[in-house]
């Protein structure tokens, strides 16, 4: 297993995702001899996991069962230990495409945070690209480094523990793309520019507030960035359900034909079909209405 390469069988040292049901998953590190408790009973790694195929159904001690899934950046995003607020797959998808990331891309990112976006980027730029990620919080930087090693992607990433606004990304003239998710991105625009390749590249900044966006756009224009574009993407999830709509009763067809002398035997008419069932997709009662504004720009030729 690796986050950048599929494998068929579960091995010792792998990170596997245990799927208990919709919205209920957790990651675990596979170790021979280890046991993991779930609400369906215990999972014994040596017998239940190691050597089995990813995607298998594993029966736990209480007779319940779970599925073991191969890790992907998207599953990781849903299960990772939060050290910060994180980016979710919807924003990540747009960032990846709009930054034009692909195998071989060199990317600079700050801050690393919980590594949600980092894993998705590493997946996309492998096997020949590289990620330089900068995190000013020492403990978070260390934790991220450890995770990258556990996930077998450490050869693709360099974690730097410094302040990107003061000290930049630690590289110059190498990046195809730069991503900023920091409180004051406008202070890092100059560093972002110098980190990028001479012939240009793409930049993205994620900010929750419009005032941050305005200052960033001003800084981008000042530094000669072109194609500045701010957008927002909202995810709508639907629940597929069968709903039934009752049919109204308009009474019998022709009231004049019913003999007024003889009282209606059946009483008020009871049609056999009083409701229609249809399958539909229902939008949730509440949804995330805002995550952050994504500002993209291109470094033009100098």
């Amino acid at each position: 297993m690796s986050f950048v390469e599929y494998s068929e069988l579960i091995q010792e040292g792998d990170v596997a995702i245990i799927f208990l049901g919709h919205d209920s998953m957790f990651p675990l590190m596979v170790q021979s001899g280890a046991q993991t408790q779930t609400r369906y009973g215990v999972i014994r790694h040596s017998t239940d996991l190691i050597g089995r195929r990813y995607g298998s159904k594993v029966t736990c001690s209480k007779g319940g069962w779970v599925y073991v899934l191969h890790p992907t950046p998207e599953l990781w995003t849903l299960n990772l230990p939060h050290r910060t607020q994180i980016l979710y797959a919807t924003d990540i998808a747009n960032i990846t495409m709009m930054l034009e990331l692909k195998p071989g891309s060199v990317v600079c990112e700050s801050g690393t945070g919980s590594g949600s976006l980092s894993h998705a980027m590493l997946r996309t730029i492998a096997p020949t690209g590289h990620l330089y990620t900068v995190e000013f919080h020492q403990q978070r930087a260390e934790k991220a480094t450890e995770e990258f090693r556990e996930h077998k992607v450490d050869h693709l990433v360099t974690v730097l523990n410094q302040d990107v606004c003061k000290d930049g990304f630690g590289v110059t003239g190498v990046a195809d793309a730069v991503f900023l998710d920091i409180p004051s991105p406008w202070e890092a625009v100059g560093h972002a520019k110098s980190a990028m390749k001479r012939q240009g590249g793409r930049l993205c900044s994620f900010s929750p507030c419009i005032e941050q966006v305005q200052r960033t756009c001003a800084a981008l224009a000042e530094h000669g960035f072109g194609e500045i574009c701010t957008l927002e993407v909202l995810l709508r999830l639907y629940d597929v359900r069968a709903v039934s709509l009752p049919l109204p009763d308009f009474g019998p067809d022709d009231p004049s034909r019913t003999d007024p002398g003889v009282p209606d035997r059946a009483g008020p008419s009871v049609p056999t079909n009083t409701a229609v069932t249809c399958r539909t997709a229902i939008a949730p009662r509440e949804m995330a209405g805002h995550t952050g504004y994504l500002t993209f720009a291109s470094k033009s030729l100098v």
Binding site: V4, E5, Y6, E8, F19, L20, G21, H22, R53, Y54, G55, S56, K57, T59, G63, G64, W65, Y67, V68, T72, P73, E74, A89, T90, I92, A93, N94, T96, M97, E100, K102, P103, R123, T124, A126, P127, T128, R198, Q199, G200, V213, Q214, C217, A218, G224, I228, T230, L231, V233, L234, L235, R236, Y238, D239, V240, R241, R279, T280, A281, V302
Partner: protein, 478 residues
Amino acid sequence: MANNGELVDERFIIKDGDFVVLQRGDVYKAVQIQKKRKVIFEKQWFFLDNAVGELYGSTFEVASGGSLQPRKSKHPEIPAEVKESGMDNRNIVDDGRSQKLTRDDIETLKEQGLKGQEIVQQLVENSTTFRDKTEFAQEKYIKKKKKKYENIITILKPSTRILALMYHGREPGKICHLRYDTLAQMLTLGNIHAGSKVIVFETCAGLVLGAVMERMGGYGSVIQMYPGGGPTRAATDSFGFPEHFHRTLHEFPLCKVKALLAGTLSPDEEGKDSVDGPAAEHLDTTAGQLASSANEQRKERDAEDSSPEGMESSSVEPEDRDKEERERRKENKAQEKKVKMEEKRKKLSAAAALLQGRNADGLVVASRFHPCPVLLTLLRFVAPSRPFVVYCQYREPLIECYSKLREQGGVINLRLSETWLRHYQVLPNRTHPVLLMSGGGGYILSGTTIDDSASASGPQKAEEPAPKRIKLQETNSV
């Protein structure tokens, strides 16, 4: 050359024959650079000859005679900043006479070969109301006129971002109205990355295929399932992928899927060396080589049949030779046909071998066909614990898919979703959402495959391990 003697990766230099994208404002057009070939873009015609040797991202101005002039200064001088401006529009009356230049005057200016920027300057100077407009209105006026009169074209390197934007803007019907943010979701939800084996079925002009290929970077393999006589790849070609990318691309006709699943794919008809079960794994590894040799063959053949034709046109010879020539060409054609058949057969068996392993790492569907049968059939080629993603312009067919998949089992994590995209105008004191937003970018059904085979022995049926949830699914809404 635009590079001042500095070393620049040659991938960033525009070359003859390159597939590029022209940009003017927010309009794009994909073309191939061919010397002395007229290109029409945004009601203008020009030649791309001068672009060769420049760097990608360079901007050009269209000069008279259709030649492109590289623009030296990146920031155009803004027409002599008119510092005077009004506070509001209480005294601005629309009498239709504020512009003193007539239509004819403007045409004359254009014919004189005046640059766009100079025309804008003239328009500003001859507008009686310009000075009374607010600063913001002046900026807006200039921006609007610039858009109309300045002929600035940027040449970009194609990418999924640009081509998806372009297709959505120009020909949404050809890509089933797949909006670019939806395409982005598909690539991410499908976990498309280098080294995997991905099945793609699309009728989006090859845009989705191209997007998948870009993300795979020439590592791994892509099997395109196609309806009808052959795959459509107009958009894929626009990406201008290097030759080695095409070696990872395979194709398989949808009409032979049933035969393949039943193990009755006729070897005589389509491929003598077609696969037999146990050899599948082995063939799997050689498939790439097979395809590459087929490609080489094609190249050789191309070289062969282009040369005699070239000679023919240059030297017109007497009648008797003409007959001989015709005979030879006929023979060539027959030979060519045979080679083509052989090549097709090889390609088919290579693709069949890849599919037969039933261990694909992902499935991406985006077509005008009903997604239900496509998904239920093609999922059988996908390994367990792999993501799949289906796009449909409409929601109802995906609801059906969702229900059928639930019934059939073999998948978890089913998710029906849609994304909304909103653009913003960000300017000092004038920040707001852009007036128009796209009303529909299509819907996506995604999920993860699981291994169902073991469940037969188990006590429970193959369903999600949360029976409560399933009950909830059926419950009527309150």
